[in-house]
Amino acid sequence: MAELNQEHESHKLGMHTEQLAGRTQQVFFSPSAEENFTYPDGIAVDFNKETEFDAGPMEIRDVNLKLRELMQEGYGTITIRNPGAKHSLGVGILNRLNLTFDGSLGYFGCGLADGPNIRITGRVGWSCAENMMAGTIVVEKNAGSTFGAALRGGDLVCKGDVGSRTGIDQKGGTIIVGGRAGAFTGFMMQRGRIIILGDAGKNLGDSMYDGTIFVGGKIEDLGVDAVEGEMTETEEKWLETKLALYGMKAPNGVKNLTKIVAGKQLWNYDNLEPSEKKLVL
């Protein structure tokens, strides 16, 4: 059990005096802080130190524990063979790491990632990379529904097709889909970017608050408050570079991607008059 209790800690940090009004400020910012590129409690790993193990006969918990043990030993490049579509593999990695799953993952694979570069040679089930914070995750084949749900940062790539509600509640980061995306992609998206090189299903960007969706193929239809936007030069350059990182290309060039943004009619919806709400919807 931790030595410090909640009350003690929050008082020590001065948090008890802060107002929960969305205007919290921390003022102990030192721009001259020394260069340190990893979290203070991060595990020191070496990308050149490689290893692999077979997850086939192991339980899910044991696979994740083994992964942590290897990181503690300094391994920075790890390959997991035969993941066997087990659920919740590779979750909660808050460190720099090169990780390869040689096979497919089940539900909730690689969730909460904060830093690692992960490659999955097979397919993934529902909610891959849910709440991912940072890093890169590349899926070589197809992905199930809610791919990148509540994604907050980093690059999440599926080279095949993805299911419905991809990027639901996305709060940052970039999702790239090489093939088609299902219905309600970008549903309630708040920020970040989704790039779909194939076709997009029904209700694309439904109720999106902000963020950007780029589509290379056909769009079945747009959801509430999703509208076409105008591509900027910086975005074109950024798209070229981003896609090239993963060996991908827009089918007819990035200039011909359709850009979808929020119409922003739903902003501050609760304060609208009933007649205004009807107009928006």
Partner: protein
């Protein structure tokens, strides 16, 4: 939001529309959240960070922008769910792209510092 004045949220209260004046609160973000980085403006510090992490671009930092809170330039730190104000003596460039690069650099320095609040919280609450 005024499109032309980059210091709009430093020099004014940022309440532009009638609705905002009524509720006394700015609606929406105080910067363009959809602005993608211009990699020609990247700083040496950020290049070094990318190299350390094994990334070829800014990755999650693409979503970090210089924001404005209570008339001061500030960066939002998602790990503490709060704004971190930029020291007043720090001079702000005249364009958002360069400001964003500064914001990213400062945020990394803050988050990776042993003085970051998460270090203490981690000690107190970490379960495994």
């Amino acid at each position: 939001m005024a499109d032309n004045d980059i210091d709009h949220f430093i020099n004014t209260d940022g309440l532009d529309s009638e609705r905002e004046k009524t509720i006394g609160q700015h609606i929406g973000y105080r910067y363009d959240v959809n602005l993608v980085p211009d990699y020609e403006r990247i700083t040496p510090f950020l290049s070094k960070y990318m190299e350390t992490m094994g990334w070829k671009d800014l990755n999650w930092l693409e979503d970090v922008h210089m924001g404005y809170e209570e008339n001061r330039a500030a960066v939002f730190d998602r790990n503490i769910n709060g704004w971190v104000t930029v020291p007043e003596e720090m001079e702000m460039p005249d364009n958002q792209q360069d400001r964003d690069m500064i914001a990213r650099e400062l945020l990394i320095k803050f988050q990776m510092s042993p003085a970051h609040p998460m270090v203490e919280l981690n000690k107190a609450y970490r379960k495994f």
